[in-house]
């Protein structure tokens, strides 16, 4: 167990946390590679921990094991073809990956999605938030040792995936959003089922909360663990529920409403403590708010088209494709060339379940993005991990990783 001083890398996000590796009390006994194969690093995260006993004196987070070059691949694909790639970024919330891209392209092309499309997209996004938070809750609880919650959460999530399958035909990589709308209108009867599901879900969420929120062991494991102050959180780039757990009410759904969020009545849960428990509470309360939004969407679901009425971006109908020479040419041209976008650049951010999901698109006027940059919330949130775990124990590292809700597919892209 010789300590390799060469590995003493202190990557602590530029904040001045003094290195305690080799001096005096902060002596390091052991270097442990947590990951890339470890049950609770949520994929292929590698955390190099400098340990003194079970206490952590240094952290180096290493990523890149899942890097697939999605940004590079996008440059060789039309905007429509990029949509399936965005599924593969945050695969626990693939809908929001689609959504982020589509909102950005719509902003680039200055399109206005019709109301029904916006409502469906909002509802789907909130269902996706539920599904994503359920995975987070399950894995977070399992990391802390409550394996039962994990299975309960997946039980509820299956129901949501059933809805997604009815909408899109897939259970994980949906590719459901389209530029200017969605791929298809809601199947008949599904809205009623979703409404009934929300009632069921609220009960089940209360059950999960009973297992965790008041439990003394859970409190002992989460309260006062992984504290990050609001100033530090902003400085290190935390967004989403992780930031709101530090007491800052920054939510893009309120700050810069997109889709139909301007019409919705909901609150932004904020807890000021900045510890693991606060972030847990934020997400639990957020699920309740998501249920509210879903219900409002269904109650006020407008009629009409779900796609923008613009022949530039809306795919032609197949029925007419084979009836007329020109319509067939149009069909082929649209499918081969997709649609061009005006020259320019746009940065559009949406509130994904993990935080601020930004798409920066530079267009050179062609049908493919000249440069497509994804601002991944997980990536920026993971950067805060060394701050969260200072002075904690190994068991807390696991709790902290869970509490910032990272997905390595999005971190590495």
């Amino acid at each position: 167990m010789a300590t390799d001083l060469e590995q003493a890398r202190q990557s602590i996000g530029g904040l001045s946390v003094e290195s305690v590796t080799e001096t005096g009390e902060g002596r390091r006994d052991m270097v442990v590679n947590m990951g890339p194969q470890h049950p609770s690093t949520h994929g292929v995260l590698r955390v190099v921990l400098d340990l003194q006993g079970e206490n952590i004196v240094g952290t180096d987070v290493q990523i890149g094991y899942l890097h697939r070059g999605i940004e590079k691949l996008s440059e060789a694909r039309t905007y429509t073809q990029v949509i399936p790639l965005t599924d593969r970024t945050d695969y626990t919330a693939a809908m929001t990956g689609n959504q982020g891209l589509c909102v950005a392209v719509e902003r680039l092309m200055e399109l206005e999605v019709p109301p029904r499309g916006r409502y469906i997209r909002t509802m789907i996004a909130e269902l996706q938030r539920l599904a994503s938070h359920l995975i987070w809750l399950g894995t977070h609880a399992m990391d802390i040792g409550a394996a039962t919650v994990f299975l309960y959460c997946f039980r509820e999530r299956e129901r949501i995936l059933d809805f997604f399958e009815a909408f899109s035909g897939a259970r994980l990589t949906y590719s459901y959003y389209r530029v200017g709308g969605v791929a298809g209108d809601a199947p008949p009867g599904i809205l009623q089922q979703i409404y009934e599901f929300t009632n069921y879900f609220v009960d089940r969420l209360a059950e999960n909360e009973e297992l965790l929120t008041g439990n003394d062991i859970w409190l002992a494991r989460t309260q006062g663990v992984g504290i990050i102050s609001a100033e530090e959180a902003v400085a290190i780039g935390l967004t989403g529920p992780s930031l709101r757990g530090s007491g800052l009410a920054y939510d893009i759904r309120k700050a810069e409403p997109y889709e139909a969020y301007a019409d919705m009545d909901f609150e932004i849960p904020v807890f000021p403590d900045g510890d693991v428990f606060a972030r847990y509470r934020v997400r639990i309360e957020e699920m309740k708010q998501s249920v509210r939004i879903i219900r409002q969407c269904i109650e006020h679901m407008p009629d009409g088209p779900v796609n923008v009425q613009d022949s530039r971006v809306t795919p032609p109908k197949r029925e007419v494709a084979m009836t007329h020479m020109e319509s067939m040419i149009n069909h082929f041209m649209w499918n081969i060339h997709s649609f061009p976008t005006p020259k320019g650049e746009v940065y559009s951010a949406i509130e994904s379940p993990k935080g601020e999901l930004g798409y920066y698109i530079v267009s050179d006027g062609s049908n493919k993005p000249y440069r497509l940059r994804i601002r991944p919330p997980s990536f920026c949130n993971l950067q805060a991990l060394p701050l969260l775990v200072r002075g904690q124990m190994i068991a807390d590292v696991v709790a902290c990783i869970g509490s910032i809700d990272i997905v390595l597919g999005e971190v590495d892209r």
Partner: protein, 343 residues
């Protein structure tokens, strides 16, 4: 002493060994099934009817798997680690009485291998030995997670030995004996009101937590906490040696449950005199499984406790309660003796 006496002992040993091993596998099945149903799953249901042969299939699988020894490990310690854990536990079953005495005419058969006067001490002493197996296994595997697991295990088991020992002192003082059979007889009055769980409830809570920590059941499964230490002290073990570790863990739980039933739940005694037509060994088994059910239930519900909290809980909560319990029982006995009241 009759000539056949050694054969009877030998027969008892064989029966207990087989019975304990069998019970360990039944427990694994019971555990999986109960956990499955609590988690809205089905549990094993593929191998055999209702999955009854799942544990057997797992055992066969583990026994025929390749047995790997990591490079640069301490091969000797790595090999004897599992044995050091399992042997003391099986030996300790020698002093556990499973039922009341059976009489065949003139002959009385004690359903215990060794009806010794210091049975409880032997159990405590032997189970303390088990920690060496864990420490050796974890340390010899030359794995950091294994070492941390074994460090945690040693600290946890040694600490909880203390409170465990302390919690049974009250029972021993009330029963005036360290013989496990006598402790059960000390609770006999026809109803469950004289069981020591009623008179020694705080001691039982400590004892219960202690046995969960000793047998590393969740929420005290820190030595092998899979989300932190991957698999803890047996992270490098595979095949037959892993199988021995698993068997030892389940047997240890069984042993502790048996002891708990004897100490606090009146062993084979029925809860009401009217129910005494049911044989004692059935009562014993029923009580054991009720306790195992509870252990699994708690493990399925509560999150894992953190290492420092585990220690805090032991030394700052359980130890003072145990000491207070000891003094209260001692004072009560002294007062009662001076008043001439039986206890």
């Amino acid at each position: 002493m009759e000539w056949y006496y050694p054969f009877i002992v030998l027969a008892k040993v064989v029966i207990v060994l087989i019975g304990v091993s069998l019970a360990a596998y039944i427990n694994v099945y019971f555990f999986r099934k109960e956990l499955g149903r609590m988690q809205s799953r089905m549990g094993p249901n593929r191998v055999g009817p209702e999955g009854l042969l799942q544990s057997l299939a797992d055992a066969v699988k583990m026994l025929i798997k390749e047995d790997t020894i990591p490079a640069d490990s301490d091969r000797l310690l790595f090999k004897i680690g599992p044995a050091l854990l399992i042997i003391p536990i099986f030996v300790a079953f020698a002093v556990v009485p499973f039922s009341n005495d059976w009489s065949f005419g003139q002959t009385v058969l004690h359903p215990v291998i060794s009806n010794t006067n210091v049975g409880l001490l032997i159990v405590l002493a032997l189970t303390s030995m088990g920690v060496y197996g864990v420490v050796m296994g974890g340390w010899a595997s030359n794995n950091k997670y294994g070492m941390m697991g074994s460090l945690r295990a040693s600290a946890q088991m040694i600490s909880y030995e203390v409170t465990l020992g302390l919690s049974v002192i009250g029972v021993v003082m009330l029963a005036h004996s360290l013989n496990l059979g006598d402790i059960v007889e000390g609770q006999a009055s026809g109803t469950f009101a004289t069981w020591y769980i009623v008179r020694q409830f705080p001691a039982f809570i400590i004892f219960f937590a202690g046995i969960m920590a000793e047998s590393a059941r969740p929420p005290f499964d820190l030595p092998e906490a899979e989300s932190e230490l991957v698999a803890g002290y047996h992270v490098e073990y595979s095949g037959a040696r892993f199988f021995i570790y698993q068997t030892a863990e389940w047997s240890a739980m069984l042993l502790w449950v048996c002891v708990a039933v004897i100490l606090f739940f009146g062993g084979w005694l029925p809860p009401f005199g009217a129910l005494s037509f049911i044989p004692g060994w059935l009562w014993f088994i029923a009580k054991c499984y009720a306790l195992i059910f509870t252990i699994i239930w708690v493990g399925a519900t509560w999150p894992r406790i953190r290492y420092d909290e585990l220690m805090t809980l032991n030394w700052k909560v359980f130890l003072p309660i145990g000491i207070a319990n000891f003094f209260i029982v001692a004072a009560w006995k002294t007062i009662a003796a001076s008043l001439g009241v039986g206890v």
